[in-house]
């Protein structure tokens, strides 16, 4: 391999270029101190440069502080402060480093989830040293792909660079070296914008998604969403972004990550909502099974991609530093938002007494619809009114609110029977204090950064649904899912939820409901119905183009650039990726 050290010298930090892979800079993240010690020793024996970290947040901080300081990240899947998959997404989005996941649990679903979230590999504990010896290949592979990206980037510019194998193999390596070196150098002091001039040169640079760029991206995505609901494609985004040196490929890969991020958020929100504050089992919900289902599903599926369609990673994004408090606020907002959007029928969404605005929503919802399970109290209550109304409130707002919404959406159980109760339980997760969600504006707080900027995509409406994410893990709603609202609605239906009050949604609901029995299973795939089994089914509330099939909540998406989902792979869950992303992005970049 002509991965010549000399050519790499400039590009990589000095230890690296000595004799790759020696000196590879590895960041290990694991909450288990015993494993941390062992891995550190193992990696040192491989002649790698090791940094250990016991917390995911800490790790992100380290990574952000020195964007170019590490070559590869190895992280455990289960960590107390943050889900390993979440960290994985963040790293992928922000730093674009190869990430390896580790776990003692080797279940196929978990492994699949890891891969879906972008993990380069999934290691099973106990880990042998020989497995660690070869991790450098992931770093190398990524570099090669980057070069290829750059190539396509060039071709976009009109510079045709043959990408055939031989070209790469011959020049590839050297190219690698040079490029990598070049890339590194460039990365260090220029962001994308500066590269424009160099774009046409043979030097390829890696696209660095700076906050600005990402914002443009999200804006574009949102824009598309509004215009042509289901048509979100990298090309369109690229056009809208109007960044000359950016290529369609760059956008496409970024979009993919974003979608994952959002879907994850969504799922998390959903799960959290359900699990977090609300112990669904405690809810008197009419539909015990439902709530439970949600809960369990949430637990189980929390990370399932399909469920997590709507992962509005919003809360996660910001979340890095956002603690439950934020969520609360958000949740509230979301809830209020949802309430608003949901419908006028819902009585006074603002009425959140319980921790979660959710309560109110239920209360109000209750009267309106049998939101048996509408977990979305969070989102519902507030947002419904506004939300569905085609308001395009900044997504952030919703997000905030919704994400806050604990899994309430999660099950139908949501408490319609006892909204307050559920709300309270949910609130635990959300820590919402029953503040009233005033509506879209309120939601902002969650991610102040984002709300103002990005969230245009998620209109309150959407957020309502989205936020309904099922918060699986006890986290509460961290913006995750706007889905909730939609899902809530959808889920509600089966429960006897009388969505009629929500005329808009009705059709959507029917679709949704018909698909599901009591839990919106059918829509699981597409809609992340948070409520029901922890999936977030995005209910299309009143969205005419609701397409329950693939993504998350067509109805919900109506406002929201569902199209994003569409274009995004069907696997991606979150149709609302863009908005979420933007929000998250802010959080991410702003660290």
């Amino acid at each position: 391999m002509s991965f010549s050290a000399p050519s790499m010298e400039n590009g990589f930090s000095s230890p690296r270029n000595e004799s790759f892979p020696a000196g590879l800079r590895v960041l290990v993240v694991d909450d288990d101190p015993t494993w941390l010690k062992i891995l550190e020793k193992m990696l040192k024996k491989c002649s790698y440069e090791v940094t250990t970290c016991g917390l995911a947040r800490e790790a992100l901080k380290l990574l952000r502080e020195r964007k170019d300081g590490y070559d590869i990240v190895i992280s455990d899947v289960n960590m107390p402060d943050m889900d390993g998959f979440k960290l994985l997404e963040h790293v992928g989005l922000e730093m674009d480093l190869p990430v390896l996941m580790m776990s003692v649990d080797g279940e196929t679903s978990r492994v699949m989830k890891g891969v879906q979230h972008g993990a380069c590999d999934y290691l099973l504990k106990p880990i042998r040293m020989k497995e660690l010896r070869n991790i450098w290949q992931h770093v190398f592979r990524k570099k090669i792909h980057e070069i290829r990206d750059i190539e396509s980037h060039d071709s976009y510019d009109g510079i045709q660079i043959s990408r055939n194998g031989s070209e790469l193999s011959d020049d590839g390596h050297m190219f690698c070296g040079e490029d990598l070196a070049y890339v590194k150098k460039r990365k260090d002091f220029e962001n994308k914008h500066d590269d424009i001039g160099d774009h046409s040169s043979t030097k390829k640079h890696r696209v660095v998604w700076s906050v600005d760029l990402h914002q443009k991206f999200v804006k574009a995505v949102n824009q598309i969403g509004f215009d042509s609901k289901y048509e979100v494609g990298p090309k369109k985004i690229l056009d809208l972004m109007n960044v000359p040196w950016l290529t369609r490929e760059n956008v496409a890969s970024h979009l993919q990550k974003y979608r994952l991020y959002l879907s994850r958020l969504q799922k998390e929100n959903d799960l959290k909502a359900s699990l977090g504050g609300i112990k669904l089992s405690d809810l008197p919900s009419k539909d015990p099974a439902g709530s439970f289902g949600l809960q369990s599903s949430i637990n189980g599926n929390q990370n399932d991609v399909p469920n997590g369609r709507y992962q509005f990673s919003g809360d996660n994004f910001f979340a890095q530093d956002v603690d439950s408090k934020n969520h609360e606020g958000d949740l509230k907002r979301v809830v209020s938002e949802t309430k608003r959007t949901l419908t006028a029928d819902l009585p006074d969404p603002q009425d959140m007494r319980t921790q979660m605005s959710f309560d109110h929503s239920f209360g109000s919802l209750d009267s309106e619809v049998n939101f048996a399970a509408i977990p979305a109290p969070y989102s519902w209550s507030k947002a419904p009114e506004n939300q569905f109304k085609e308001e395009h409130k900044p997504l952030l707002q919703l997000e905030d609110g919704f994400s806050q919404l604990p899994p309430s959406g999660i099950h139908n159980h949501i408490q319609i029977d006892d909204p307050l109760q559920s709300a309270s339980s949910i609130t635990s997760g959300l820590s919402m204090t029953g503040r009233e969600i005033c509506g879209p504006e309120k939601i902002k707080p969650l991610y102040p950064q984002y709300s103002s900027n990005h969230m245009s995509i998620l209109s309150p409406k959407e957020s309502a649904f989205d936020s309904f994410p099922v918060q699986s893990k006890s986290q509460m709603v961290k913006h995750q899912s706007f889905e909730p609202i939609s899902t809530a609605i959808s889920s509600m239906k089966p429960q006897g939820f009388n969505l009629s009050c929500i005329t808009d949604f009705e059709s959507c609901q029917r679709n949704l409901i018909s698909a599901t029995d009591s839990t919106f299973e059918p829509f699981n795939e597409d809609l992340t119905v948070c409520w029901l089994e922890g999936d977030c089914h995005s209910m299309n509330f009143g969205l005419p183009n609701v397409e329950f099939t693939d993504y998350i909540d067509p109805g919900f998406i109506a406002e929201f650039p569902i199209y994003l989902c569409d274009t995004l792979t069907s696997d991606t869950e979150c149709p609302f990726d863009p908005p979420e992303y933007s929000i998250v992005d802010q959080g991410l970049f702003l660290s």
Binding site: D31, D32, P33, T34, W35, K37, I38, K41, M42, K45, D76, N78, S103, V104, D105, K125, P126, R128, M129, L275, N299
Partner: protein
């Protein structure tokens, strides 16, 4: 002569830990990591494990006292405990953890409690055995660590 005898003793102790299923391959991995830079690596890791997991055990005990049982939480704890136990190759403890998680999945509280008691027992037995082993190894001198018979 004394020394050799002691070395042999240590060796026998070590071997029996493997033969009796208390330790698995992972322990050997740890031994292989031990070097001049970290001459007491294995003992340090084991000490760290016991210290860290004692807290976890306490949490699990508390969780098992709740009513009703929160199986999700228990499963999470046990997952952590299992992960930790694999780090030093605590074979029997690990097996109990797996069993525990099975019971969690089906919501068998009784089974969980029983299994956990067993896990704690194994955990303690191993601790004593390892302590004795390390002590013996220290007394017999450093050369013992140099000749690690492959299991």
């Amino acid at each position: 002569m004394e020394r050799n005898q002691m070395h042999r003793q240590v060796s026998v102790m070590r071997q029996s830990l493997f033969d009796q299923g208390y330790l698995d391959e992972q322990f050997i991995q740890l031994e292989e990591l031990q070097d001049d830079a970290n001459p007491n690596f294995v003992e340090e890791v084991v000490t760290l494990y016991y210290r860290d997991s004692s807290r976890l055990i306490l949490s699990i005990d508390q969780a098992l006292e709740r009513n009703p049982l929160d199986f999700n939480k228990l499963d999470t704890y046990m997952h952590q405990f299992k992960g930790s136990s694999t780090s030093i190759g605590a074979k029997k403890v690990k097996a109990e953890c797996t069993q525990f998680r099975e019971y969690c999945k089906v919501g068998n509280g009784e089974g969980c409690m029983r299994t956990f008691q067993q896990a704690k027992k194994e955990y303690t037995i191993l601790k004593r055995k390892l302590e004795a082993y390390f002590q013996q190894a220290r007394q017999s001198g450093p050369s013992e660590t140099a000749c690690r018979p492959r299991n």
